[in-house]
């Protein structure tokens, strides 16, 4: 066991020391947050900079409501008297007194069209907001002729299904949170298994290529070497994901009060419900560990079979497929569930991390299925590790061309 520890520590330290790790772990999240913040800041700035806008209402029925509506979404609009005349308004625009103005006329009441006159076309956000406000106002006006405005509005909005749970109480927010957590978790599981698996493959291949392995396996059994390697890369992965999750939690903890302070309209209670709970994080850890060991032993076996980078690129394809297929299936059922047969596909151990985790978090499958998938994964892990260990043991000392399938079987059977 001491030997496993020695290998593990080497693998861990050598990896954590690299620039790549530091960049990926610390710089990336910081950069991402920075970028998101910056772009949000810039777009707000851009929208706020020139805001001298005017509104001409030729109908005499919409002006005030529209102006108030625009004000509510942040636009200071001067409601101009309709006597001023459009020529005068055009002059104001060309002489840069105002940026643009909006004209509401009869057509607006009939079909919701209206003119936005300026030198530059409005940005997408602005156009959408304006349209929204105008249409709302017009609808309101026209519905008021028909009576029972509220009911008609609901109907126009397309009706609404309301879920009435017969099981445990699950609020809408909890459901959304589950979907988000499941989605993010599936994503995280996919990428970590892919990347950390590739690290294991690379590590095995390098050791084999530069022949250090010949010296190393004269002291330590290949099985322990493989175990140490997988544990080492896994610890590195846990460190990395731990830092990320920690960062995210910190942002959540600091960010929610900040939002509460700056945007009183946002319901903070609801927002905090969106944060994943400890239960789903614990479940993520279990699925990560099982999935990572499952896949990294496969990747280790692939690394041991190959002698060159190119060979490895090809040989890892089937393993990648095992990862990509559930990922694609999962993407088609973001809401956590999907077609019924997918729930059963999620029981397949190699698919379970990506497909069962989101289902478990959303509560789309009964708990016994989640438990079964874990048991199946553990069983698959034992089998896979056994086979991979045998391939690894023979493979790392073989030079030359990649083994055929029949040779592989012989390696596995070899005492």
């Amino acid at each position: 066991m001491r030997q496993v520890w020695v290998v593990l520590r080497r693998e861990y330290i050598e990896r954590v020391k690299t620039k790549g790790f530091i960049i990926a772990t610390i710089a990336m999240p910081v950069l991402m947050i920075g970028l998101i913040g910056l772009s949000a800041f810039l777009s707000i700035q851009a929208e706020r900079s020139e805001r001298d806008l005017a509104l001409v209402d030729l109908t005499g029925q919409l002006g005030e409501t529209v102006a108030a509506g625009l004000e509510a979404v942040g636009y200071d609009v001067e409601l101009v008297d309709s006597d001023v005349g459009l020529q005068e308004m055009d002059r104001r625009v060309t002489e840069d007194e105002i940026e643009a103005y909006v004209v509401l006329d009869d057509l607006t009441i009939q079909e919701g069209t209206f003119a936005y006159r300026g030198n530059e076309a409005p940005g997408r956000v602005r156009a959408a907001l304006f349209e929204n406000v105008v249409v709302e106002t017009v609808l309101e006006l026209r519905l008021s002729f028909a009576g029972n405005t509220a009911g008609l509005r609901e109907l126009l909005a397309g009706g609404r299904l309301s879920f009435e749970s017969l099981g445990e109480e699950q609020s809408e927010m909890e459901r959304v949170s589950g979907i988000a957590t499941g989605f993010a978790g599936a994503f995280l599981l996919y990428f970590t298994m892919l990347f950390y698996g590739a690290y294991v493959l690379r590590s095995v291949l390098d050791e084999k290529r530069n022949r250090v392995v010949e010296v190393v396996v004269s002291s330590i059994s290949p099985w322990r070497l493989m175990l140490g390697k997988i544990l080492g890369v896994g610890s590195m992965g846990l460190t990395q994901v731990g830092i990320w999750v920690g960062c995210a939690a910190l942002i959540g903890l600091l960010g929610i009060p900040m939002i509460a302070a700056n945007w009183p309209a946002v319901d903070v209670g609801e927002l905090s419900q969106l944060m994943p709970g400890a239960g789903s994080l614990g479940l993520l850890l279990v699925f990560f560990l099982l999935g990572y060991f499952l896949y990294s032993s496969l990747f280790a076996a692939v690394g041991a079979m190959c002698s060159t980078e190119e060979e490895a690129q090809q040989a890892q394809f089937p393993v990648m497929m095992l990862l990509i297929i559930p990922f694609i299936l999962q993407m088609t059922s973001i809401e956590g569930s999907g077609l019924p047969w997918m729930d059963w596909a999620a029981l397949f151990p190699f698919f379970s991390p990506i497909m069962m985790y989101p289902r478990a978090v959303v509560g789309a499958v009964p708990w016994w299925m989640v438990a079964t998938s874990m048991v199946l994964m553990a069983a698959a892990l034992i089998g896979t590790a056994w086979v991979a260990g045998r391939i690894y043991r023979v493979g790392i000392l073989m030079q030359g061309k990649r083994p055929t399938l029949r040779e592989l079987v012989r390696w596995i059977k070899q005492a």
């Binding site: 530069n210 250090v212 392995v213 010949e214 010296v215 396996v217 004269s218 330590i220 000392l397």
Partner: protein, 313 residues
């Protein structure tokens, strides 16, 4: 403890159609230095890899330090593979510490020993540099340190001298000698006959996958004598002519008289004394290892291993 550090019997290894090592027997008594010689592709590396259990023989048995080559036994071997391998991204000292710890040494002890060795091989300033910053020869020295770090009972070195400059070759040679003085058994393969001649107590010559010669170097040389006599003397060589030796071969000041001229050494000596020749040298010539190598390895179809195992005359 058995008396043999390595014992191979009837070992055969095939790669597809090609037989790399055929029916190979070898015993290395503890405490000796054995040189494994042979042309390129004759099966030296394959043999060594089988001793280290990196390859498994198709037939025959391998015994290492008195038993099957398990991890406990292989851990008492220092092995320098033919293809040099190092963790290029690691620092020199860390790499050595890793190897030492793998073999069960504590961190402090490996550290101290590794530093001592690095100093000895003139690498102390490189201890905290990455291995990839070192030249190839320097990397090889680091790797060599890795093989002796844990005071092994047996050193197996596959072409340890290749790629080293003459000074480092001498350093390595003296280290090998020193290890032997401590009782370590040493098996090394080489293409440098001078080195082998100087270092080896025993040699084993492989050619075309088969053992051709094996035995104590001195005895081997004696056995490989061709009967040529080298003599040097003052004065003219007319007395040789009277013995019926015409046109003797001259090598520097010496006359080389091959066997088969019908002159026995004792008769030649008796005549020389009787003729009052001023002899300066009279020697039954022994072939150099180089000559032995060429003679046996160069044969188009070498006979299967001559029965000289153990160095019997």
């Amino acid at each position: 403890m058995t008396e043999h550090a390595v014992q191979l019997s009837g070992v055969t290894k095939r790669f597809g159609e090609h037989t790399a090592v055929a029916d190979f027997d070898l015993q290395i008594p503890r405490g000796t230095i054995l040189g494994l010689l042979g042309p390129n592709g004759s099966g030296k590396t394959t043999t060594i890899r089988m001793i280290m259990a990196i390859l498994l023989p198709d037939r025959g048995t391998v015994e290492l330090l008195g038993g099957s080559p398990d991890f406990a036994r292989r851990n008492r071997v220092g092995y320098l593979p033919e293809e040099r391998g190092v963790y290029e991204k690691m620092k020199v000292l860390e790499q050595l510490v890793f190897l030492g710890e793998l073999r069960g040494m504590t961190r402090q002890i490996v550290r101290r020993r590794a530093m001592e060795w690095l100093e000895r091989l003139g690498l102390e300033e490189w201890a905290n540099k990455k291995v990839q910053q070192l030249s190839k020869g320097m990397q090889q020295k680091v790797q060599f340190i890795g093989t002796v770090l844990h005071d092994p009972d047996l050193l197996i070195l596959d072409e340890p001298f290749s790629g080293l400059d003459p000074i480092n070759q001498d350093v390595l040679e003296s280290i090998v000698r020193e290890q032997q003085d401590k009782g370590t058994t040493i098996l090394f393969s080489t293409h440098l006959m001078d080195q082998a001649e100087r270092l080896c107590e025993r040699v084993c010559l492989i050619s075309r996958s088969r053992k051709v010669l094996d035995g104590n170097l001195k005895e081997l040389k004696r056995r490989e004598r061709t009967g040529t006599i080298a003599i040097e003397f003052e004065g003219d060589d007319t007395w040789l002519a009277r013995l019926g030796i015409t046109n003797p071969q001259r090598v520097d000041d010496a006359y080389h008289i091959e066997a088969g001229r019908g002159v026995e050494p004792d008769r030649l000596l008796a005549v020389a004394v009787a003729e009052r020749v001023m002899l300066r040298r009279f020697e039954l010539l022994e072939p150099s290892l180089h000559e032995i190598f060429v003679r046996h390895a160069g044969q188009p179809d070498p006979e299967p291993a001559l029965g000289v195992a153990g160095g019997v005359q």
